[in-house]
Structures are given as C-alpha cells and as structure tokens.
Symmetry: C2
Subunit: 346 residues, 2 copies
C-alpha cells in the first residue's frame, strides 16, 4: 500500500546534506544562509519567540527550539554533551523539522548537525558584517573544534577576512583545523597561546566547549577596536570571557531573555544594557560607533536562525535528488478511518 | 561512505508500525502498552514533568511534549487541527523520538499517529480498570472518529466490555465504526442519539473533535454509578461535558497543571478538587468508592504516556525488520572533525 503524498515528509540525511553543501559550494551556501537569516532578522517582531525548552542532566542538555512566523513552524532538537568528545561522540548533534501551520503537517525533516555548523557560522559572519571594524583582515580563532573551520570560511566569505590565527588548548585540534583549511584561500597561522593568536586580529572568535565558567580571554588581552564573536558561552554555567571584558564592551545579542540565561552576560547584572541584533540590522539601533569601541556578539544561537536554515533547505532541495520521502504520517483516505487503514494494511 | 552506527537512528514508518501492530495483535499490543503506562505511572514522581509547549494559530495547534525519566528522554510532535477533516486530512498527526540522556543521541524515531491512537486507548482502558463499576459490560462510544475503534477494543481487552453503543452527529462515522468493529468480538449497537447510546451503559466514552465548548452530554443524561471517559476535551476552549456533570462527579486526571488548562475542568474553579491517577494506581489515593459514584477521567493525554509508548516500541522492534536505519546524525570518526567529514564526502 502506497502512503499518500501528504504522508510523505522529505527527509535530508547527513549524506544528502553533505551532497547539497558540495553542490551549492560551502562558502556560497553560508552566504545564502546568512541572507536568509538577515531577512528573518528584519521581520523579527512577527516571530513566536520562546526560550528553548531544555532538559538538563549531569551529562549534558537536550533542547527543543521551536518558533513560527505564522505560516511555517520549525523546531530543532539539539543536545549539548561536552563530555561526549572523550567517548568519540559529537558534543552537539541536531535534527530539525518544518511544518505547515495551516495543516499542522510536517513538510521537512533534516539532519541539522552539519546545518547548525553552517547556520552558526553564517549568523556570526552576518553579525560581523555589521559590527567588525572596517577593513578587518585577520581573525583569531580560539577553540579549534567542530565549528572552527566553518567560522573561518564564513568570515572569509562575508567579511573579507584573509588571515586566521588558530589556537586551541589541544595542539592536535589546531593541527586538524589548519589541515582542513589548507588550500581554502586563507592564510592560516597556528599559534601556541591565545595571546599569540590575537596579535594583529581585528576579530576574535571564541568557540570552546567546556561546560564550566572558563576564561579563554582575560581583560588585558583585548585591545580597543576589536570585534569579539563569542560562540562558546551558550548555556548556564558555561562562559568564556572574563567579566571585565564584558564591562568594556558594547554587547550585542540575539534574544536577551535567552542570552541572559545562557550567554556570557549571565556574569553581569540582569539589567546590564545590551543591543538586540535585529534592531541593528533594521537600522533601529546603532551597530559599531567608532574604531576604538570593543563590540561583543554574545551568541547563543536562537530558534529563528534554525528556522531560516530549515526554510532555506526546503527551498534548496526542491527539484533535486538531495532528499528521500519518509513515510512518517498516517494519512488514511477518510481521515476518520485510521482504524480501517490499519485493518486494510493487514 | 557509510555512516557509523551511532549516526543511524532506527525509524519506524507508518507502514512498519502497522506491520508491528498486526504482528503483535492489536488487543495484545494495547494490553502491553497499558502495562508499560501503568509501570510508568507507578514511578510518576521521578519524571521530568512540564506542560506541553504549544504553538497556537487560528487553524489549530502544534505541540511538543517532552519528558524524561533521567535515563531516556522522549518527546512527541503532535498537531491538532479539527478543520483538517473537511480537507481530507487528519485532525491529529504525530511522530515521536527517544534519546539517550547520557549522550544526547536519538535512539528511535517513529510515526505516532497510529501509536497515539493505541496509547490513548490503552490509557483510557487502564484508568477504566481502576474506576469503572465492577462488572461493567456496556460502553457508550460518543464520537465515532479516528480514535473510536481503538477505544472500544481497549475496553474490551482490559475491562471486559462486550457491548458498545455508538453515536456520532454524523451517521456515516457511526457506520464506519460499526463496519470496522464487525467480527471483532463485540456486540455493536448503532444509535441515533446520544441519549440512546448511553442507555444501559456503565461506561461512557466521549471523543468528539470540535474545537469549541460543546455539550455532548447534559446533566440529566448521566445516571449514578457510571464511569465517564472524556477524551475529546483536550485543549483550551474545547470541552464536551456540561459543567453540572463535572460538579456531580469525582474527577480523575493525569497531570493537574495541564488538565486545568486543557481538560473539561477548565470550566471549573482552579482549586476544584481532582485526584491524580498515578496516586490511584500506586494506592496513595482512592479510586471508585461505591456503586453510586460518578467517576470522570478528564483525559488530555500526557507526555509520560507517549514516553511509555516510545520505550515499548523501541523494545518491540529489537531484532525485527519493523524499522529502517536513518542516517540522521553526523558522526565523524574524530568528533571535532565535522569539517573533515564534510570534505571527505566530496
């Protein structure tokens, strides 16, 4: 028995996602994702916004991140288990779903581990476009894990970075990142300390994975005029920057209600002033004011960015072979006759 | 390139779910599901309980229902769109996921439209076992939609019902239900009014789908001693029973915090006394007290029931062919080398 069209949900496997990325081109896809995210930031106010629904355990966290623009509904399932890497597993895995608000029927299921890496990098570089100092050419990449290469290529594609300076507590991670970036059009400098990495960098990206209050950057390391792209401080108890850096910076966030719980600013008073990025992008708020200012993007990742990415994938796979139909929804000819459908399947 | 074992999530399609149901036998499977749900009700206190996360629209609702017992994490995606039936679509479609709390990795993805029908029926009949009057043989089934046959078979399997009396506003629904139940070991009586349907019934199940305050049963229709299994009043603004019936009944619920928002008791004061079913099942609270008492199960469906069903399916498919491995999680050999995995896939 063939299920009806409505019952079949297009599914993008990891394998197909990788094919799609290579088909589009990785920098091109990050650029297109950034455009999609930028467009959604411009209509920020019409989205259903709710902090993610988190299930914490001693081992890590499992989160559901739903949102809707009134026509489409999307959510991402994502875990965060920093201890996983010691067991040969990913810290973060994810998948996502789009549905039609009008019928409630899912319209896309997709892997989102790869896609999250791309959308996080796209968001970072999109924000960098608005906040990084003019003419920035060099980025320090502190933390050379799964996200690092995507960040470097995104800042190359969107912000014109030509040099990245890598540092990780584990030199093998730096080696891996440098190897992966070879021949990608970037000058790659492997550094032995965080201090060395930020020398001459106009942009500093921090992306480390320990679930604890860490101090990747101390105050005296950060000179005037830089843009800090802080990715790794993204859940309660996990931060990367010394509090004094925060106090010298103008802080930009995705969604304050969530960032105050999960971001670097959990170290500050709950009323410490922050600027919402959607307001910068729509021109309602100022971004970078002058060349001396330290700008800090306290990024935690928000559901709307995943929504943008899901909608992008839904459009990108249309007419391609980069998906398979999944028999996920029971859809009997007579909607009241679920039981009859079951009996006829015998 | 073959994805690793960890990256492959067992997926139970609608087709495989139907095969599994027939393999186990529908009444047997409802009975086994009820045992699983009963066991989880007995350890109710250790579950993470949070009201479902609902996205309401003028067209319907899309909900995520997560829970965890500390070892496994589960959630269900479910929509409720009563207007769908007029467009040839299901009012409710659902799918669900189990994950390992220790790693955050998903361990099962399954259709849950069929499975929800079974778990809802299993929960109803399990509660009926505790609350229905002794020796009950006849059930009135009011609302003969997608859930109705499952309810009838569940009360047959678990409570010893031998006769069902069907009524629906739409006689075609009654005809469909009667046809589906033919030869299933029940005496089926099709009725022209709700009043006729409840004649001689010791159990009254109401399961209608309109998203509005409806009055399927009025006060004078309900005599002493019956058990009412109220399924259809399950979201804000959607109820089925006249308030006076509620006032004459002892009311039993799954999770008061959710039921007061979604169940029949949204028509009552917020402090109206209710009894939690897990307390009845563990012996901490009394169920049916005497033969005159009207018991009312104000059922809205709770995440723990889905969790029980998901765990049941995970066990049931082990060693069978009733699932397919889904390449849903990117899982590079070196967990920090997501980018390298992508490059090698080229």
């Amino acid at each position: 028995m063939q299920p009806s069209d409505k019952a079949l949900v297009p599914f993008v496997s990891v394998d197909n996602m990788m094919r799609l990325i290579h088909h589009v081109g990785i920098e091109q896809m990050i650029t297109e994702l950034a455009a999609e995210i930028e467009a959604d930031f411009k209509r920020w106010e019409l989205f259903d916004k709710t902090p993610r629904v988190a299930a914490h355990s001693p081992h890590g966290v499992i989160e559901l991140m739903p949102t809707s623009d009134g026509e489409a509904y999307g959510f991402k399932y994502v875990n965060g288990h920093p201890k996983n890497t010691t067991e040969g597993l990913q810290t973060v895995t994810a998948f996502g779903l789009l549905a039609d608000v009008y019928t409630g029927y899912p319209t896309l299921l997709t892997e989102m581990t790869m896609l999250t890496a791309l959308r996080t990098a796209a968001t970072s570089a999109l924000v960098g476009k608005y906040l990084a100092p003019k003419g920035a050419t060099t980025m320090a990449m502190i933390g050379n894990g799964a996200q690092s290469e995507f960040q470097c290529l995104a800042f190359k594609a969107l912000c014109g970075i030509d040099t990245v300076r890598l540092y990780d507590l584990d030199p093998r991670a730096t080696g891996k990142c440098a190897t992966n970036l070879a021949g990608k059009g970037l000058t790659v400098v492997s550094c032995k300390t965080a201090e060395e990495a930020i020398e001459g960098a106009q942009i500093i990206t921090t992306c480390t994975a320990d679930k604890k209050y860490a101090t990747i950057l101390t105050d005296n390391m950060v000179g005037p005029g830089v843009h800090i792209n802080a990715i790794g401080g993204d859940c309660p108890g996990k931060t990367e920057l010394h509090r004094d850096i925060l106090l010298r910076s103008d802080i930009f966030v995705e969604y304050p209600e969530q960032t105050r719980i999960e971001g670097e600013i959990q170290a500050l008073e709950p009323d410490h002033p922050v600027t919402e990025m959607w307001q910068v992008i729509t021109g309602k708020a100022q971004g970078r004011r002058d060349a001396q200012q330290i700008t800090l993007f306290d990024s935690v990742g928000f559901a709307i960015e995943d929504f943008s990415a899901l909608r992008y994938i839904k459009k990108a796979i249309e007419g391609t072979a980069f998906f398979e139909p999944l028999d996920m929804l029971a859809d009997p000819d007579d909607p009241r006759d679920l039981f009859g459908m079951l009996m006829r399947a015998k």
